[in-house]
Amino acid sequence: MIKVYTSTVLDSPAHVVWSIVRDFNALPKWTPFVADSRIEQNLPSDRIGCVRNFRTNDGGIIREQLLALSDYDFQCVYSILESPMGVENYIATLKLTPVTDGDKTFAEWSAEFDPPPGREQELADHVGQAVFQAAFTHLKQRLR
């Protein structure tokens, strides 16, 4: 089991950031690497248990299931059902916390998963940098 943790400070109030990221189907809107996304079986994107089925820019299909969503804690937990990464037991949490001093947002994105043997570092870097950090950087530009 490896853990990945990425965090950043976003220059907007937490409720504003949350209004963008709480939509489980909105990855194409605020990340640079998702081409399109849909919620399977036409469920609402805030229905716990729903599955987002999205295609990355390089053509990979990923299916992720919403495990928990809290408008009270600004937190979203999901797992990967299928992906080209070949990871198992992947659970990720995206959480926002207001920064009262300056009315900004502290955003944390963490994941735990079992990688295939020998690919630990590669996948930790991929998830932490190419996915989480890249999405944060893109979101920052969008919020400007």
Binding site: Y5, S7, V9, P98, V99, G102, K104, F106, R144
Partner: protein
């Protein structure tokens, strides 16, 4: 039971912040409200169960006990045992988290407790702002001081009963030179004389100034159009320099800090100044004092106009009047970087070239405030989504014609004369939003000021704005600087060097 929560970002790695916070007695070093503190019975300050007994500068005394400490979660929980304040069942937890994007620290501080009925809001502020938020600021200052001193242990011991090391106390006034407006009128009414900067009082800072910004508002203050000074008095609203000393209650500045400001009341045309500290910001290492003196007022104006009065978005069409002026060039460049399409008005071909270099796609050369036709033509008849208007009266009718339906007309100045009144029906005809903003309202709170200043420094780094100092004068030549500015012959920024 009330719950108080505050959080802040500290510009230091989590290990450096935690190294202090895990020591229950360290607050006497970094927290500006603590007068003295010690751990009872000589216990180590990271011993769970240890008690810190301390006195606040306001005279209140407290005893607090460490309930939990985690080096794994960067977390400390403590409670009040006794206090001369009416707080009961107080339990507080502070926790740090790393900001991996930038190697900073997120600090979350939360408590629950009972207070007398009706005083909930008062205690939310006392504890939340006076203890927690002030603590963030105190920690930032302490870490800056440590960086300068080389190490923390150089500044204070590491355990036992420490007493607060205050700023060197009140001393004599410092003498320097300043430009005085003898009476309202022309540039010739300004003359050099000796100024005395008193030792800073409560909430004040004394600054040895190394660069002073010259702005058009100074001309209005000098002439008496803006009645902001009673001569004889020193004009000027912008400068940068180095902190000499600070008065009691100033947590965010230290002697030796390089600082800048742009604020009222006027009084910046001098070599040394004592003033309210809350409008003064610390400069990042990569921003020189001369640059800061040149861009604080205009840069912060561009920041609030583009991000607070309006929120310019990619694809917006923005019309900037006086596009080659100091503020105009910054608005053009920054708006273009935000993805807007920038149209401008200028008074000459040479200025059109300057504006174009700064991202203004279509500089309209006009000497008679006629521009609406060209704006509409360039936008397929739609007009501009946002107009930044420093012209005022003479451009009024053209602005109404040039703005798009549901557009935003921001009147931040009136170089051609004041607009007496704007009939509401004029706005209704296109659902126009009209703003009449003044920078000093946007920078009034310290939190907002710091955010705006930080964005200006970021914009300098990214090239969204530039210092373009083309005219430097000794302080004594302030009158010449005003003459040059009033002749409209200058481009770029003017600074005085005391």
């Amino acid at each position: 039971m009330i719950k108080v929560t505050r959080s802040g970002i500290i510009d230091a790695p989590i290990a450096a912040v935690w190294d202090l916070l895990r020591d229950l007695n360290s607050h006497v070093d970094w927290h500006p409200a603590i007068d003295s503190s010690e751990i009872e019975n000589g216990e180590p300050p990271d011993q769970v169960g240890c008690v810190r007994s301390f006195r606040l500068k306001d005279g209140n005394q407290l005893r607090e006990q460490l309930l939990a400490l985690s080096d794994r979660d960067f977390l400390s929980t403590y409670c009040i045992l006794d206090a001369t304040l009416p707080m009961r069942r107080y339990v507080a937890t502070l926790q740090l988290k790393p900001v991996t994007d930038g190697n900073l620290t997120f600090w979350h501080w939360q408590s629950t407790f009972d207070v007398p009925k009706g005083r909930e809001l008062e205690f939310d502020r006392t504890v939340g702002d006076g203890v927690y938020t002030a603590g963030f600021e105190g920690m930032r200052t302490w870490l800056r001081r440590g960086r300068r001193a080389g190490s923390r242990s150089a500044a204070a011991g590491t355990s036992g009963g420490r007493s607060h090391v205050g700023t060197p106390g009140a001393g004599a006034a410092l003498q320097g030179q300043g430009i005085f407006v003898r009476r309202h009128g022309g540039a010739g009414e300004m003359a050099l004389a000796t100024v005395d900067a008193a030792a800073p009082g409560s909430g004040e800072v004394r600054i040895r100034q190394t660069a002073v910004g010259v702005n058009y508002i100074d001309v209005y203050v000098r002439s008496g159009l803006y009645p902001m000074i009673v001569p004889p008095a020193v004009p000027g609203v912008e400068a940068a320099g180095v902190v000499v000393d600070v008065g009691p209650g100033v947590a965010h500045l230290l002697p030796g800090d390089r600082v800048a400001y742009a604020c009222l009341p006027p009084g910046s045309y001098c070599s040394v100044r004592t003033m309210a500290a809350d409008q003064v910001v610390v400069l990042p290492e990569d921003v020189t004092e001369e640059t800061a003196a040149a861009v604080m007022l205009k840069g912060m104006s561009a920041e609030y106009l583009l991000h607070r009065t309006t929120r310019v978005r990619p694809g917006d069409t923005v019309l900037v009047h006086g596009a080659a002026g100091g503020l105009g060039l910054m608005l053009c460049r920054w708006a273009a970087q935000l993805g807007a399409r920038v149209i401008g008005t200028v008074s000459s071909d040479e200025k059109a070239r300057l504006a174009r270099e700064s991202g203004c796609e279509l500089p309209i050369v006009t000497g008679d405030y006629r521009f609406a036709g060209q704006v509409r033509e360039a936008t397929g008849g739609r007009g501009a989504d946002v107009i930044f208007d420093g012209l005022g009266r003479e451009a009024f009718q053209e602005n109404i014609e040039a703005v798009a339906v549901c557009g935003h007309w921001v009147s931040y100045g009136q170089a051609s004369g004041p607009m007496e009144s704007v009939p509401l029906a004029t706005l209704t005809a296109k659902s126009i939003t009209l703003s009449r903003p003044v920078i000093f309202h946007y920078t009034a709170s310290r939190t907002a000021l710091q955010a705006i200043a930080a964005n200006v420094f970021k914009a300098l780094r990214s090239g969204a704005i530039r210092a373009d100092i083309r005219h430097r004068y000794p302080l004594a030549a302030a009158a010449q600087a005003h003459r040059d500015l009033e002749s409209r012959a200058t481009t770029g920024q003017l600074v005085l060097l005391p």
